[in-house]
């Protein structure tokens, strides 16, 4: 009991004085997970749209692969990225081992399938009659797809947020490829694990609080988007 009370008091004090380690971990989490999500959206929305609306062979297989990717175990992704970026690995020349770039790559692999899969479902849920209508009005295929994406923008935002939510709470891959270096690759989740193992419960509680606030913010945006979409 004592431990929890003193830990919470310490956490409040650290948050109040904007403790540098806490802020650095929050910044590192937001930067790496934000970049990974951004890259997932840039690549995942076009791919998801193509899979959702396309009529080509193998699209069901691609969708199944994306759905599988949503369940990739983070430590397996961490292992794969680690051996690739180690100096002895195929991308060793980049010197990405224990860097944010490696963490962004690992988190991208974790987030992108979610964005692809949910985008595909989102564009499919737009009224299929719209497509015929657009084509009959003389729209090119490319223009028609763009209109579909616009129609489905809120579900796509949800897809992006789901991707972000998955990687911001992730620890296994980020620890393996980032090495938890203080002030650099030490993010909220890896810092919580380290502070807990050191017995610094105040710092761990403070970091956990920031992480929960971030996750709440993500879900608030998603919920707002979903509610706005409801026909009035």
């Amino acid at each position: 009991m004592d431990l929890i009370v003193t830990g919470l008091a310490d956490a409040v004090a650290r948050l109040a004085r904007l403790d540098a380690d806490l802020l650095q971990a929050a910044e590192a989490s937001l930067t790496t997970s934000g970049m990974a999500t951004l890259l997932s959206v840039i690549t995942g929305v076009p791919i998801g749209t193509a899979i959702g609306l396309g009529r080509f062979r193998g699209r069901t297989l691609l969708l199944a692969l994306a759905n599988t990717g949503m369940g990739f175990p983070p430590v397996v992704v961490g292992l794969a990225v680690a051996v690739v970026v180690w100096r002895s690995g195929p991308l060793g020349e980049l010197s990405w081992s224990c860097t944010r770039q490696a963490m962004i790559l690992a988190q991208y692999i974790l987030a992108a399938p979610t964005v692809v899969g949910l985008t595909a479902v989102a564009v499919q849920s737009v009224d299929p009659g719209l497509r015929l209508q657009l084509l009959s009005l003389g729209a090119t295929r490319r223009q028609a797809m763009w209109i579909f994406v616009q129609e489905a923008r809120l579900p796509i935002l949800t897809a992006a947020m789901a991707g972000f939510g998955a990687v911001i709470s992730e620890i296994g891959a980020s620890l393996m490829v980032g090495c938890n270096i203080r002030g650099d690759t030490r993010i909220l989740t890896t810092a919580i694990a380290l502070e807990t193992s050191k017995g610094e419960f105040g710092a761990a509680f403070g970091l956990a609080f920031i992480l929960l606030v971030l996750i709440f913010a993500v879900n608030a945006v998603t919920t707002w988007a979903q509610q706005r979409q409801r026909p009035s």
């Binding site: 180690w86 081992s97 620890l175 090495c179 203080r182 002030g183 810092a191 193992s197 050191k198």
Partner: protein, 262 residues
């Protein structure tokens, strides 16, 4: 017939020990032999020394095998430990990247640290109050320097992974001999300094005092203590690593006094 020879099943010993013991591979060997010989089962929880002693204060282990004497003596003074015995030792060495950009090779640890700081060469620290971390911080203190980022990295992971960080970042690092030689083949690192006199890394076993920590099991703790001090375990420790790495990673020290080791 075999069942008749096997020792009677007894229960579980909760052992708190450190990443250097696990990462060198010794822990698995000791646990397997302990279980075979005594009939007890051992459940090891592995963290840095500071964290292991924190877990012990909460009563989540029965016995600890750790390597940071100052924290251990404080633990004994506070009454948490009933008996503390020297089990084994090795020493700390400075390792670094081939090419030695800071020209640290062959110096004393303190001179080498000054050279590293002067060259702002990358240095990896555990930064987690483990035995290795405390030994490293003490060496920095002797130089009178305060190492700082960006060249001084605090890795926040165990000993073996920290060595990988040092290898990948072409950095210097203080390591225990056991973990370094146990992993040498996977690392692009060389021995830079072998301090003389040796910078000893002493491992003590401490049985928890049930008067202070009622959740600890005294019988279980004693079984582990007696095992690691036994001639069988001491022989295992002294031989460990010779077959796979060509060198012993630890030296047996049961019954010896600290001042006799140097």
């Amino acid at each position: 017939m075999l069942a008749a020879c096997a020792p009677q099943a007894r229960g579980e010993v909760r052992v708190g020990t450190t990443t250097t013991v696990q990462d060198s591979g010794l822990l698995d060997v000791l646990v397997a032999d302990f279980e075979k010989r005594t009939g007890w089962r051992a459940r090891a929880s592995v963290q840095g020394t500071g964290a292991v002693l924190a877990v012990a204060r909460r009563g989540d282990v029965d016995v600890v095998l750790v390597h940071e004497p100052a924290q251990e003596l404080a633990f004994m003074r506070e009454g948490f430990g009933r008996r503390r015995e020297l089990v084994m030792f090795n020493d700390f060495i400075l390792v670094g990247p081939p090419g030695d950009p800071a020209a640290a090779k062959g110096k004393s640890v303190e001179e080498a640290f000054r050279a590293i700081a002067g060259a702002r060469a990358t240095f990896v620290s555990r930064g987690d109050r483990s035995g290795t971390d405390v030994a490293e911080k003490a060496a920095w203190q002797r130089t009178g320097l305060a190492p700082s980022s960006p060249w001084y990295l605090e890795s926040g992971v165990g000993q073996a992974q920290s060595l990988i960080v040092a290898s990948e970042r072409k950095a210097y690092m203080l390591s225990d001999r056991g973990t370094f030689f146990g992993r040498r083949n996977a690392l692009a690192l060389e021995v830079m300094v072998e301090p003389s006199p040796r910078l000893l890394n002493l491992y003590h076993v401490i049985a928890l005092d049930t008067a202070k920590v009622p959740a600890a099991n005294a019988k279980a703790a004693d079984a582990w203590v007696e095992y690691v001090l036994s001639p069988d375990a001491q022989r295992l420790i002294a031989e460990f690593g010779k077959d796979r790495f060509g060198v012993a990673l630890f030296e047996a020290a049961a019954g010896k006094r600290e001042q006799d080791l140097r």
